[in-house]
């Protein structure tokens, strides 16, 4: 190993490996979280997780984040495609900038903004009342959580797809055209298959934060749409059971790794394994 690598290795050990080890350690033990002497090895936490309450929360988290990821894809792909096909580089950069600018704003603030839009006395309902309609329940349901996820994570879908599309060799498209392919055939048989690595990266980059979020569900979801992130947060901040919190974190990590493995396998085959996330 080169000497210049030592600081990075140190960094990885202190800030990644040690914390990870502690989380695993806490996950497989029980006892008083504040007193190390009371820790004993146990699988109780895993057993506890298998109860219907937690499984339901987990299922809801997965379902909502899968739906959000899918909506991001449906919205994000055409956006990325349109931007990537703009001829002027300046135009492309400006349009991408428009998608990135909201990300410079605080995540919490961005999410709070939706409260004032969707709330009982929010912009939409005020407008509906003005037109003489009843107010709608727009907040504190699955829909508003999905909206929050899509809104916050859409750029993570657009950017990787865009970067693959914009770098695509135009000669390949000309070659397909030369071989008799119409525009729709070119998209189906050349452009889309070649953009799959970007799509897979987008899936991972949207799914991962979506499945573990607690802020979005806290603000927009209310009590009815508690996600796994909220439950973990509760264990650490309110209940003080670091062991059970760690267990759920480990399980969530396992699920994310599994999803990434599946999506990367799908994308990796088409691309000869290059550019996959791991």
């Amino acid at each position: 190993m080169k000497k210049v690598a030592y600081p990075y290795v140190m960094w990885m050990v202190i800030f990644i490996l040690v914390p990870l080890f502690l989380v695993v350690y806490f996950a497989f033990t029980t006892g008083d979280s504040k007193n190390y002497d009371t820790f004993t090895f146990s699988l109780d936490n895993f057993r506890r997780f298998l109860s219907p309450i937690y499984l339901e929360v987990m299922t809801r988290s997965l379902l909502l984040s899968v739906i959000s990821t899918f909506i991001c894809f449906i919205l994000g792909y055409p956006i990325a495609y349109i931007i990537a096909n703009k001829r002027s580089a300046k135009m492309r950069n400006n349009m991408i900038l428009l998608f990135v600018i909201p990300m410079w704003m605080n995540f919490l603030l961005r999410t709070y903004a939706w409260l004032t839009i969707l709330g009982k006395n929010g912009i939409i309902n005020t407008f509906l009342n003005f037109l003489g309609f009843e107010s709608l329940e727009l907040l504190y349901n699955s829909g508003s959580v999905i909206l929050g996820m899509v809104y916050n994570f859409l750029p993570f879908m657009v950017l990787p797809i865009y970067s693959v599309l914009v770098k695509m060799d135009r000669k390949l498209i000309e070659a397909a055209e030369d071989l008799g392919a119409s525009r729709s055939t070119i998209f189906r048989r050349v452009i889309f298959p070649l953009s799959l690595p970007g799509v897979m990266t987008g899936f991972t980059m949207v799914f991962t934060p979506a499945v573990s979020t607690f802020i979005i569900s806290n603000l927009l979801g209310g009590n009815k749409t508690t996600l796994i992130g909220n439950v973990i947060e509760q264990q650490f901040i309110y209940t003080g059971d670091w062991h059970f919190g760690s267990t759920m974190s480990i399980i969530l990590m396992g699920i994310i790794l599994l999803v990434m493995a599946i999506t990367n396998k799908g994308g990796g085959d088409l691309e000869g394994g290059r550019g996959a996330l791991w």
Partner: protein
């Protein structure tokens, strides 16, 4: 010529914004012909090719293909196929899928596709490569696959855009011969774009020399080499000594104060002309026996021959010869009548 005209370019002009790339170009291409568009980069040769494929629409003029005007027909409906400069093989498909791409679009029967792919792979000497990924192939192999992918569609015309540019010298020479053989076997029109004059001379039936959007000369390789129409062609095709002269009368030209018998005629008496002499056509003699005498300034060994720079009254001749005279020596030079080529003065330069 008895063979039919395949492609007829009529009064083609093309400009991008304010830059004019092609100016009123007229060119016809015959069936089964190996035609090369030759010229330096930016001469309009690639644009001409792209107009024939349909990637560009001419600003003015018409493209006639087998008697039909196809100026506004999109590329995917034209009966031509292209071999691209950097191959442009689909990286997500294997060799078989790459070659079958065009056939699958035509919804051809599966067994028929398999047969055609096998045949065309045999034609380009890559039998058994069906399942290979294109990334695992060498440059030369990728090039053959690109040719196979185009040929399998049985186009009437195959367009090749500097296809050998990325290959090393030895492979390029092999591929030149192979391309010519393939063309003879499949018997279709090849339109080849290159800036490499040697490549053009080796393979073509007809060479079109282009410069700055204008056709400079159209002819067989021998014509173009021996009878360049102007100084640009003379300089671009091989090396030449070009010097000013005066045509005294038919078959007699004077340059550097010496009169030389030549084989050209049809000039006005005492008309100023330009004289082209190929470096390999100058014969070295003893100082006293030459028509011209000069001082050897530089000698370079080139393998097959020596290349010498000889100064005669301030004009520096380039001479190629298997014999060698050392630098600093005074030598004589003889030029035979049919080694002298006379061009009209001022036809571009």
């Amino acid at each position: 010529m008895t063979s039919n005209i395949m492609i007829d370019l009529k009064n083609i002009s093309k400009s991008f914004g304010r830059t004019s790339v092609l100016e009123n170009m007229n060119l016809y291409i015959r069936e089964n012909e190996f035609l090369t568009l030759l010229g330096p980069s930016g001469c309009g040769k690639t644009t001409t090719l792209r107009i024939i494929v349909g990637f560009e629409t001419p600003s003015e003029g018409n493209v006639i293909f087998a008697g039909k005007d196809i100026t506004n027909v999109p590329p995917y409906e034209r009966q031509v196929n292209t071999v691209f400069q950097k191959y442009a093989l689909f990286p997500h498909l294997d060799v078989y899928e790459n070659i079958a791409f065009g056939l699958k679009i035509k919804k051809m029967d599966k067994a028929e596709i398999r047969q055609k792919v096998t045949d065309v792979l045999k034609l380009v000497n890559l039998s058994g490569f069906e399942k290979r990924g294109v990334d695992s192939l060498s440059g030369g192999q990728q090039q053959r696959i690109a040719i196979a992918r185009a040929l399998v569609n049985e186009p009437k015309v195959l367009l090749l855009d500097e296809p050998l540019g990325a290959l090393d010298l030895k492979l390029r020479k092999e591929m030149q011969i192979e391309l010519k053989n393939i063309q003879k076997r499949v018997g279709i029109t090849f339109i080849y774009v290159t800036h490499d004059q040697e490549e053009a001379l080796t393979m073509s039936d007809t060479i079109v020399v282009m410069n700055e959007g204008l056709i400079q000369q159209i002819g067989t390789p021998v014509d173009i080499y021996n009878e360049p129409k102007n100084a640009f062609v003379a300089k671009f095709i091989g090396e030449s000594n070009i010097l000013p002269g005066i045509m005294h009368r038919d078959f007699l030209v004077e340059f550097q104060g010496v009169q030389f018998p030549c084989v050209d005629k049809g000039f006005a008496p005492m008309e100023p002309v330009e004289v082209v002499i190929r470096p390999e056509d100058i014969i070295m003699t003893e100082a006293s026996k030459g028509q011209l005498t000069g001082l050897v300034e530089e000698v370079t060994f080139k393998g097959v021959h020596y290349e010498m720079v000889v100064d005669v009254q301030g004009f520096k001749y380039l001479i190629q010869s298997t014999a060698m005279a050392p630098a600093g020596e005074t030598i004589g030079m003889k030029i035979l009548p049919d080694s002298i080529h006379i061009m009209k003065r001022g036809e571009a330069s």
